[in-house]
Amino acid sequence: MAATPLNLKVLSEKPTPLSGGHRMCAGCAEAIIVKQVLLAIDDPVVVINGTGCLEVSTTIFPYTAWRVPWIHVAFENTAAVAAGVEAAYRALIRRGGFPADRRVVFVAFAGDGGTYDIGLQALSGALERGHKFLYVCLDNEGYMNTGIQRSSATPRGAWTTTTPVGAAMPGKLQWRKDLTGIIAAHRIPYVAQAAPTHWKDLMSKVRKAIAMDGPAFLNVLADCNRGWRHDPALTLEVTRMAIETCYWPLFEVEDGVWRLNYRPRRKLSIVEYLKLQGRFAHLLRPEHQDLVAEIQAEVDRRWEELLRRCGEPV
């Protein structure tokens, strides 16, 4: 069977595994990303979902928005549950309890809290063991489900309810964790960073990921307008600016080879990204000029490091 072509007309006619009527916020990037990920997959899919916005908003008993098999167990163990499901699939095929020619794709979704922080151990273990599944981190840079607290994915200078802005504190003090780099260091077959604005890039990455014989990881920037403090209509604008400023580069690491997938024609100042979001509003005040300069320097440093890794001219 030929893969569904990645064009909008065809995709718009494909039934979505996540139905409408769920209770995600207006303008939530997660719902968009989940649809993009699942529409890219033609084989049957089983979804493993960590605790978080996506889980609570789509499965309020007795309703479910999922048209595919779906399981949620807890917060920090998404990858471990996925490992168990995948092991069961292989075991059942072996004992004739499941048709051997029936390919099933296992997709795990979890937020940055469930991935960068509390679920990192379970993820690392599952990747090392080599279970064949795709893990998608919906990175909205904070604990948004509990009401906007900092995670290790929250960027320096951002306001959250546990890194509030006050006379003594300018928001979060620490740099965000380079999770994609950490996952790449596991030397799994496929690791990539993506964003819903570049949907074709994202969907192609999903296809590459599930074709691998082993674990694959996708880190997707998932704008949260409630937490990032902006108009819900601006989700994709803000995401686009994260990419144009090189704050969130699109790249992939395939069998250890780093490749840049998108290079802005003209790299924009990080201020263009910061100024769109209420969580950074305080940074634009004169007293935080130095901090903005530091943030710009760090974005530049990480970008150039990535260019070098990808063999791109710096």
């Binding site: 399981i71 807890a74 168990g84 059942l92």
Partner: protein
């Protein structure tokens, strides 16, 4: 036909697991359970069992993987001890609430701190209200038999709950015992094939597992769980009956020893029941009418049956290998349960508690004879003056000896003296 073998407790359980041949085993090493995962891994490596064996990076992940596997329609098992069980805590409740028939041998070990690797029951007693069925084993034979039966109990259509099978750390897990193992085919016929009610891998009928449940449904789901636990008692007996029919070894909710005409009785779990039997025999030789009750099933707690079996005695001593800190008199969980059951079923006799063996401290026949002596005095007085005795601890008032009992009641002379 089966055969006699000499195996350590952990090896006996690993052998049972090999014969059950679960689809998925996800586990993590921890003393004194490690022997189970090691032996099982060897069976996998030797091609003697075709199980997806997954050594997780933690017990939390091991049980999480079992939950995923069981939801996907696989027969899943894990095994642990102490800190590992404590780390699983969150997922214990989830496995039970999702009604997944996971079987988990637990090799009882004291919980930290102070860190200690030896036996007590603080680990599994801490999980007593997590919704798992709990079965305690006295020796390697029972651990083997209970592991086989646990699979049937867990998967029983009227139950569908996870089961823990306990054995005492080191005392049972690391001692070589002679036990009878059944043929692979006979075990396979006994355990049958897992028939899940619904599975994640049913692609034709996509289901949502682990949905968010608020005040409008959560309580009903918990109520259903109660029913499953209530029905488990009958299922446990039904499975035991079939086990006895096939293999000749008979199991019940508990076992009694010389209890029928006893004046006083001790209630104790697991390997210590073996020691207590020696004490019972020693005192019976002196003409004392003492007996023993060893609970096998702790969850669901067989309150009615247990009290019925003890109705004729004049005093009960409950031996606990764990402390329920801050509970009544800082006694042990088994004592609290027996007290509550006695009250519930109108048994008005003195019931004293003897906490023993924490962190693997030895308990000797003579100490248990001391407990029986104390119970004789309690029966004579008709009341408990010291509700909880910590047996064999420095600085504690020692228990009376049988010799002292004959001084206390002069006509109760020592036989042979």
């Amino acid at each position: 036909m089966g055969r006699w073998v000499a195996l350590e407790g952990t090896e006996a359980v690993a052998y049972a697991m090999k014969q059950v041949a679960p689809d998925v085993v996800a586990a993590y090493p921890i003393t004194p359970q490690t022997g189970i995962v090691q032996a099982f891994a060897q069976f996998v490596a030797d091609g003697e069992v075709h199980t997806e064996f997954l050594q997780a990076e933690s017990e939390h992940s091991a049980l999480s993987a079992c939950v995923g596997a069981a939801a996907a329609g696989a027969r899943a098992m894990t095994a642990t001890s102490a800190q590992g069980l404590a780390l699983m805590w969150e997922i214990l409740y989830i496995a039970a609430s999702m009604r997944l028939p996971i079987v988990m041998p637990v090799v009882n070990r004291a919980l930290s701190a102070p860190i200690n690797i030896h036996c007590d029951h603080s680990d599994s007693m801490g999980a007593r209200d997590s919704g798992w069925i709990q079965i305690y084993s006295e020796n390697a034979q029972e651990a083997y038999d209970n592991t086989l039966q646990a699979v049937r109990i867990a998967e029983h259509p009227q139950v569908r709950l996870p089961v823990m099978v306990m054995m005492d750390g080191f005392i049972t897990s690391h001692a070589v015992e002679r036990l009878w193992i059944e043929d692979d085919d006979a075990v396979r016929a006994f355990v049958g094939t897992y028939q899940p009610a619904c599975t994640l891998l049913n692609l034709e009928r996509p289901l949502t597992f682990g949905a968010l449940d608020f005040y409008d449904y959560y309580f009903e789901h918990k109520r259903h769980q109660v029913e499953a636990m209530r029905r488990a008692k009958e299922a446990i007996l039904e499975v035991a009956e079939d086990f006895a029919r096939r293999f000749g070894r008979r199991y019940a909710l508990f076992e009694t020893y010389r209890l029928e005409d006893a004046d006083v009785a001790v209630v104790v779990l697991s390997s210590t029941a073996g020691t207590a039997r020696v004490a019972v025999d020693n005192l019976r030789r002196l003409g004392w009418r003492v007996g023993l009750l060893k609970p096998r099933v702790y969850r669901p707690f067989p309150d009615f049956e247990l009290i019925h079996a003890l109705r004729h005695v004049r005093a009960i001593g409950v031996m606990d290998r764990a402390i329920a800190f801050g509970a009544m008199e800082n006694g042990g969980p088994l004592w609290l349960e027996v007290l509550a059951a006695a009250h519930r079923h109108d048994l008005r006799i003195p019931i004293a508690n003897y906490v023993f063996g924490l962190g693997g401290r030895d308990i000797t026949p003579s100490e248990i004879e001391g407990i029986f002596t104390d119970l004789m005095q309690i029966a004579e007085r008709g009341t408990v003056t010291r509700p909880v005795t910590y047996v064999g601890v420095r600085g504690e008032m020692p228990l009376p000896t049988p010799a002292e009992w004959s001084l206390w009641i002069p006509e109760a002379t020592m036989a042979g003296d």
